[in-house]
C-alpha cells in the first residue's frame, strides 16, 4: 500500500505549538508511507491541489491529513481524494489542532502527541476498505409541527416550492401567540391584520393540509422517509360538516368557561370558536365544561346545529403520514408569574401578564379594546410595567434574556398613553435591550413623545394599598440611577413575562430524536453556521422553539428552514452514509440481542430456509451508532469504517509508540 501524509500548520494555530516539519519527518518512517510533507493550509486550494497531484504522481492508495477536527474539513479532503480517483473512505484525518495544539503549550510533547496521532491514522488507513454509499427514494412532503407565525411561514414557503405540507397545530386554530397580540413593534401594525392573510393562505393553499387540535404522537424512519403518527384529538364536532356559523356558541348554556384565547381574563362557552379570524373556523367542545359530556344532560348545540355536525361520541383518531423532512416550529410559552410571591403570586386581579394586557388592548378582546381593570372595570390612570419577570433571573432558573420583552413593554406603554391620554405609564427595567432595526428609536419615542417614565431598577414588592380586592396597588422598587427607593401607586400592573420553552417541548424533542437544552429549547446543529439544522438529518428548526425570538426573527428562520427543506427534497434520491452496521451472516448465531438494543429499529431478523435466524441491517435506518456491534456476543456485526480490526490497529499503534519512543 502507498500512503501519503500531509501535516497542516493551520497558519499559527498548529505550528505555534507543534513542530509540523518534525511530525512529517517522523511520518516518513511509518510503514507504507511513501510521501509526507507539511503545508501552511492543507484546506486551501493549493493544499488540496497538492494532495490531488501527489495521489496521481505517486499512485497513492490512501491519504492522511493531520490538521483540524474532522467536523470542520473532513468532507473537503474526502472530496479532494475522490477527485484524484481514490475512494473517499481511503482517507483519515488526525486532529492535531483541537486535540493537541490548542490545549497545551508544551511544544516538545505536543509534537510527540501529534506524531502518535498520525501514526494511529496511518495504521487505521492500512486496514481501511473502500465504501460506497447507496441511494434511496425520498418523500416530497414536509411535516411542520406548530402553527404559529413561524410554522405558517415555513408551510407557505415549502408549498410555494412545490412540496406537500402537513401543518400540525395543538390548538383549534393556527395563528399562535401572534394572533393574540394587538399591535406589533416597532411599527404599531395591527398584529392579526398582518398575520391574517398568511393564515388564510395557509388554510386555502391546496398543497397545505391543516391538522389542528392535533399532536405528533410518534416519529420513526429517517431523512427522506419519516413515518409520523399524528393524534387528532377529538373536538366532538365533525369538521367536515361544521360551517363555523357560531349558532352553537350562542345557544351553549355553559357560559363560565375561562377563555384561554383571552388568557383567561374573560369567559366563553363550552363549545366555541376561539376567535373571529380562526383558521380553520370550526367549533370545538371543551369536554371539561360541557354539560352534556360531564353530566349527560343538555345537548343544546346538537339541536341548534344546522348541519348536524355535533358528535358527542367522537374519539381521538391517529393517522399515519409519510414525509421526507420535518420542521419543528413549536414556539414558546410564557413564564408563570404565580411563582413570584413578591408580585402577589396571582392573588391580585389587577396584576396581569403582558399577554393578558394585549387581549385587553385588542379590539377583538373581551373589553373591545378599552383598557379596564379586571377587579372593578375602572379605567386605570396609572399603569406600571415591570420588565424581566422570569427573564435574567437566576433565582427562578431563568438566567437568559427573552429578547423581546423590552420592546413589547415599550409598545404597550405607548398604547396605554394612546388609549388613555390622561394616564401615566411607568416602566421598571434592568437594561433596555433594543437591538433590532428601528427598535432603539421606538423606545426613545416611548420615552420622549409618549412621556413614559422609565425607572431603572427592580420591583421588590407589589401590595394592595387597601385590601386585596380594591383600591390601588403599591409598587415598591429601587431606582438605581437615583440610588433611592421609589413607590408608585398603580391602578394596574403589567408583568413582562419572559419566554419559556413550549409545554411538552422535551417530549417532542425525544420523539424527533433531536437535542434540547436545560430549558427545553431545541438545539441547533451549530450555533453560528448551522442555526436551522438539528443534529438529526432531515429535521429543521423554525422560530422560538430554538430560543426566544421576536416575530421578524421567527419569520426569517422559518423561511430559512423552508429553504433547507426545499434544497434537501429537490433531489429525487438521497445517498445513505455507508458507515453503518453490517452483519456477517456466517458468524451470526441469530440470538437477536442486536435487534433489541438498536435504538432506531434498524435491525430485523431474517429466517433462513433451514429455519435458523440471522440479523439484517436496514441500511437506510441505521444511524451508525455502533451499539449493536458491542452487543453482539460473537462479533458478527461490524460498524463499517470502525471495525474491530480498524480500531485495534489504532490502539496497537498508540501502545507501540509508548513502548518505543516515549521518555519516562
Amino acid at each position: 500500500m502507498r500512503i501519503g501524509v500531509m501535516v497542516c500548520h493551520c497558519g499559527n494555530n498548529i505550528a505555534a505549538t507543534v513542530d509540523c516539519e518534525a511530525v512529517a519527518a517522523a511520518a516518513r518512517e511509518f510503514p507504507d508511507v511513501v510521501y509526507a510533507t507539511d503545508h501552511m493550509y492543507a484546506c486551501s486550494d493549493p493544499g488540496q491541489k497538492t494532495i490531488e497531484q501527489t495521489i496521481r504522481d505517486l499512485k497513492l492508495d490512501g491519504v492522511v491529513v493531520a490538521s483540524c477536527s474532522p467536523r470542520m474539513h473532513e468532507m473537503t479532503f474526502r472530496r479532494a481524494v475522490e477527485r484524484a480517483g481514490l475512494n473517499r473512505y481511503m482517507f483519515e484525518m488526525a486532529n492535531i489542532r483541537e486535540h493537541v495544539a490548542w490545549i497545551s503549550l508544551d511544544r516538545k510533547r505536543n509534537t510527540q502527541k501529534a506524531t502518535d496521532l498520525v501514526r494511529m491514522a496511518v495504521e487505521k488507513l492500512r486496514v481501511d476498505r473502500p465504501l460506497t454509499p447507496k441511494s434511496f427514494d425520498v418523500q416530497k412532503r414536509v411535516l411542520i409541527v406548530g402553527g404559529g407565525v413561524a410554522g405558517i411561514q415555513a408551510a407557505l414557503d415549502c408549498a410555494d416550492g412545490g412540496l406537500d405540507v402537513l401543518l400540525v397545530e395543538r390548538k383549534a386554530s393556527i395563528g399562535g401567540i401572534m394572533s393574540k397580540l394587538d399591535k406589533t413593534f416597532p411599527t404599531i401594525d395591527c398584529s392579526v391584520c398582518v398575520l391574517g392573510p398568511k393564515m388564510v393562505d395557509a388554510g386555502q393553499n391546496p398543497r397545505i393540509t391543516l391538522h389542528t387540535c392535533s399532536e405528533v404522537e410518534e416519529v420513526s424512519g429517517y431523512v427522506g422517509n419519516f413515518e409520523v403518527k399524528i393524534r387528532k384529538r377529538t373536538t366532538y364536532v365533525d369538521w367536515t360538516k361544521c360551517t363555523g356559523c357560531g349558532a352553537c356558541q350562542e345557544k351553549c348554556p355553559s357560559r363560565k368557561v375561562p377563555d384561554a384565547f383571552n388568557e383567561n381574563i374573560s369567559l366563553t362557552t363550552a363549545i366555541n370558536i376561539p376567535f373571529p379570524q380562526a383558521i380553520p373556523k370550526r367549533a370545538t367542545i371543551n369536554a371539561a365544561h360541557c354539560i352534556r359530556l360531564t353530566k349527560g344532560k343538555c345537548g343544546a348545540c346538537a339541536k341548534i346545529c344546522p348541519t348536524g355536525a355535533i358528535d358527542y361520541e367522537m374519539q381521538d383518531e391517529i393517522i399515519t403520514e409519510k414525509v421526507g423532512a420535518i420542521i419543528a416550529a413549536t414556539g414558546i410559552t410564557l413564564f408563570d408569574h404565580t411563582r413570584l410571591g413578591e408580585y402577589g403570586a396571582g392573588r391580585y386581579p389587577d396584576v396581569v401578564t403582558s399577554l393578558a394586557y394585549e387581549r385587553m388592548l385588542s379590539a377583538s378582546g373581551p373589553t373591545a379594546g378599552h383598557i379596564k381593570r379586571p377587579s372593578d372595570g375602572r379605567e386605570p390612570k396609572t399603569v406600571v410595567f415591570i420588565s424581566c419577570v422570569g427573564s435574567r433571573d437566576r433565582s427562578v432558573d431563568r438566567p437568559y434574556c427573552s429578547g423581546f420583552c423590552c420592546m413589547y413593554t415599550a409598545k404597550q406603554a405607548i398604547l396605554t398613553r394612546d388609549h388613555i391620554p390622561d394616564s401615566k405609564a411607568f416602566v421598571f427595567y434592568m437594561d433596555i435591550r433594543a437591538n433590532g432595526k428601528g427598535y432603539e428609536e421606538f423606545v426613545r419615542r416611548a420615552q420622549e413623545e409618549y412621556a413614559v417614565e422609565y425607572v431603572r431598577g427592580r420591583v421588590a414588592h407589589i401590595y394592595p394599598t387597601a385590601g386585596p380586592d380594591g383600591g390601588q396597588l403599591m409598587v415598591r422598587g429601587a431606582d438605581t440611577l437615583l440610588g433611592a427607593q421609589v413607590e408608585v401607586a398603580a391602578d394596574l400592573v403589567v408583568l413582562a413575562v419572559g419566554a419559556e420553552s413550549s409545554t411538552g417541548a422535551p417530549e417532542l424533542a425525544e420523539k424527533l430524536h433531536i437535542s434540547y437544552d436545560h430549558y427545553g429549547f431545541f438545539m441547533e446543529s451549530h450555533p453560528k453556521l448551522r442555526p436551522v439544522e438539528t443534529n438529526t438529518v432531515g429535521i429543521f428548526l423554525a422560530g422560538a422553539c430554538q430560543g426566544p425570538k421576536d416575530i421578524p426573527a421567527s419569520v426569517a428562520q422559518a423561511s430559512a428552514a423552508a429553504g433547507k427543506v426545499l434544497a434537501l427534497l429537490s433531489k429525487d434520491k438521497l445517498e445513505s452514509d455507508p458507515q453503518i452496521a453490517l452483519v456477517q451472516a456466517i458468524r451470526c448465531i441469530g440470538c437477536g440481542k442486536c435487534e433489541r438494543t438498536c435504538p432506531f429499529g434498524a435491525i430485523r431478523m431474517r429466517e433462513l430456509r433451514d429455519g435458523s435466524k440471522r440479523a439484517e441491517v436496514v441500511e437506510t435506518v441505521c444511524q451508525g451508532c455502533g451499539i449493536c456491534s458491542v452487543t453482539c456476543p460473537v462479533r458478527a456485526i461490524q460498524l463499517q469504517h470502525f471495525t474491530d480490526s480498524q480500531l485495534l490497529a489504532e490502539v496497537n499503534a498508540l501502545c507501540r509508540t509508548w513502548d518505543e519512543t516515549t521518555e519516562s
Binding site: 413578591e342 414588592h461 385590601g467 386585596p468
Partner: protein, 328 residues
Amino acid sequence: MSAPLGYYPGCSQSGTAAEYDISTRACCKALGIELADVPDWTCCGSTPAHTVDHHLAGALSARNLLQAQAAGFDRVITPCPSCLSALKTADAHLAHETYRAKVEHLLGRPGPGPVNCQSVLQVLFEQIGPGGVKAKVTRPLTGLRVAPYYGCIMNRPPGLMNFDDPENPMAMDALLSACGAEVVDFPFKTECCGAAFGMPRLDVMQRLSARILDMARSCGADAIVVACPLCQMNLDLRRGQVNSASGQDITMPVPYFTQLLGLALGLPDADLALGKLVLPLAPALIAAKEREAQREAHREGERAAKEAVKAGHRPAPQPVCEEDAPCA
C-alpha cells in the same frame, strides 16, 4: 414515639421572649413532639457576632451544634428565626474546608458534622400539619382576625432556609386557619420591622414597624401574629415609640403563633403566658367574640327571613353585616 428533638431555646426565649419559649414547649408537648434541651447551650452569636467576624460567629454556633451532636441529636429545632439563621449558616459554611479549618482552630477541637436545623414553625407545619392541629383544637379562635407576620429571615435567603415560599409564606397562615382563626391576606408578611436598628437608628425602626402596623390595621386584623422575638419586641414593647413617631394610636396585640395555637388547643393559662405581652390580647379576643355574636344574629335573621319566604311572606330588608364588607 420517636427520639426527642434537640431543642435550642436561644437567649431571647430565656428573657424578653419567655412566653415564646413557654408556649412552644407546651404546644409541642400537647401535639406529641418530644423536646430535649441541647445541653449547656450558649448564644448563637446573633447579629453582633457575624457583623464583626464570620469565623467567630461560626464558632459560636458550631459549639452549639457540637453540643447537640454529642447529646445524640441529628435534628435541632429552635423557635427563633435569627438563631436558626445563625445555626444554619454555620452548618452550611462548615462544608467549606478553609472556613472549617479556621472554626476548628477557634474551637480547639474537630467541628460538628452536618446537623439538620429547623424552626419550630417548620416542625409544627411539616410534622403535625394543619390537619393534625385541627383535630386537637378544643377552643377554636372563631371570629379572630389575625395577620400572620413571618419577618425577614424565617424563609430567607431561600437557598439556606429552604422552607415555604420566601416571598409569600403560608405555613403560619395554614396553622392559624386550622385553629379556627380568620387569616387576613397580609401583604407585609415578610417586610422588615427594623430589627436591631431599634438601637442605633430608632427612626428607621419606627418608620418600618409603623408601616406593618398600619397595613395590619387596614386589613382589618385584630392581632399581628409573629414567630420572631425581635419582631415581637419592636411591634409590642416598642409600640409607644412607634405610635409616637407615626402619630397613630394602634393598640393591636402581637402574640406569638404558639400562644394562639396553645389557646386553641385549650392549654391552661400558665402554658400561654399571655400576661407577658405588653399589649393585652384580651381586647382582640373580645372583639372576635362580639363579631361572632353579631354574625350569629345575622345568620339567625337570614334563617328567619327564609322561613318567612317559605311561609309566603315578603322578606323584610336585612341589615347589612358591616363586618362582611370587604376591609378597606
